[in-house]
Each structure stands twice: as C-alpha cells, then as structure tokens.
C-alpha cells in the first residue's frame, strides 16, 4: 500500500479526521489528503512538536514525545510520530482520542508496510502483526 492509498483509506473510513499529512523525518511531505500539502505544513508541524517537547521537558521521564493533541474548541490538531515519520491531522472536536490516535498509527503502518517487508524474518507467519508492532509505539 502506498502513502496516498493509506491516506485515502483512512479518510474514507474515518468521520473524525478532516485533513492529514504524512511527513518524513526531515519534514518532507510524503503524502496528504484530501488534497495537496505545501511546505507550510512541515514548518508548522515542526513548530508544534518543538513547543510540545519544550512543555513536556519538565516531566519526570525523559522518554521521547510520540504524540501531541491540542484542543482548539471547534477542532483538534493531532501530531503523531512512529518509525521516524510524523503524521499530522486536523480532526473534529471532542472525538474519541484513542480511536483517532489508533487510526493515525494504522495509517502510518499501512503506508510503509511494503518498505518494512524485507526486514521480516523468513519464517515469520504472514499477518502475524510484527509489522504493525514495529511501527506502533505505546499510546
């Protein structure tokens, strides 16, 4: 499945997510839906991530940030990182957060499932979930 297909799949099944963009580790836009994304998304996503990391720096743990959700009243902005990539989304307000995060993680896992396939052990059973586990971090 390509990045565009994974995005299209997610937008077709989710009523919570309005727009989303998949970014590479250096901020390059890898895919977007339902239209094209400009470089301003990359800059804005980086800005939010840095601000969140700064705010969370005083927490007791030094574990890296994996997701940020900010409620904006009539909508929410969600950013999630997994497997060295980032996915950012604009969602409807007051939606089940766990479900939105799961959907975004699944979209990232699906988008890069072919890329990770050669790393799979030859004796691994198809569909044993190892791919998803590699990309999905704890929520």
């Amino acid at each position: 499945m390509t990045v565009d297909e994974a995005i299209s799949d997610l937008l077709s099944i989710s009523t919570d997510i309005r727009r989303l963009v998949v970014l590479d580790s250096d901020g390059t836009v890898l895919g977007a839906g339902p239209g094209e994304a400009g470089t301003e998304v990359s800059a804005a996503a980086g800005g939010l991530w840095r601000a969140a990391a700064e705010r969370g720096a005083d927490a007791a743990t030094d574990s890296p940030l994996v997701h940020v959700v900010v409620d904006l009243g009539d909508a929410a902005v969600v950013a999630l990182e997994a497997g060295g990539r980032r996915i950012v989304a604009l969602t409807e307000a007051d939606r089940p957060l766990g479900l939105v995060l799961f959907d975004l993680r699944t979209c990232l896992a699906d988008a890069f499932s072919e890329e990770r396939a050669p790393d799979r052990a030859p004796d691994a059973a198809p569909g044993d979930g190892t791919d998803a586990a590699a990309v999905k971090g704890p929520s």
Binding site: A44, G47, S63, V68, L72, A75, V77
Partner: protein, 71 residues
C-alpha cells in the same frame, strides 16, 4: 404492590442521584486542553489554565491554518 412501587421509586431516585453526581464531577474536571504522549506510555495532560498551553495553542493554530489549505 405498594412495596413494589416504592422500590421502583427508590431505584429511580438513586439513579437520578448518581447521574447528578457524575454530571457535577464532569463539570468540576473538564477534559484536558492538550495531551502530550510519550514513548513509555505516560501522558502529560494540560489543563485549560496550564501556563504552557498558550504557546502550544498558538503553534497548533498555525498548523491548523496550514492543514486547512490541504483540499
């Protein structure tokens, strides 16, 4: 019969009381305005009066504006 209707009324009153307590609890602790999730599974929940929230909201608003152009 009278005993049965008294029991029903008591149950209804108890249910109303529980609903009221739940509603008050929800009002007393509004949902967090932001979540920061970490790799170890911990979550930092920011309340509406968190001093770090305005900066985070400003960045989130910029990202929202950028995402709104994806159409």
């Amino acid at each position: 019969m009278r005993l049965r209707s008294a029991a029903v009324m008591a149950l209804a009153a108890a249910a109303t009381a529980v609903a009221l307590v739940r509603r008050r609890r929800r009002a007393a602790s509004p949902p967090p305005a932001a979540h920061l999730g970490r790799g170890d599974g911990s979550i930092v929940r920011l309340a509406a009066d968190d001093p770090g929230l305005p900066a985070l909201r400003a960045r989130a608003a910029e990202l929202r504006a950028a995402l709104e152009t994806v159409r």
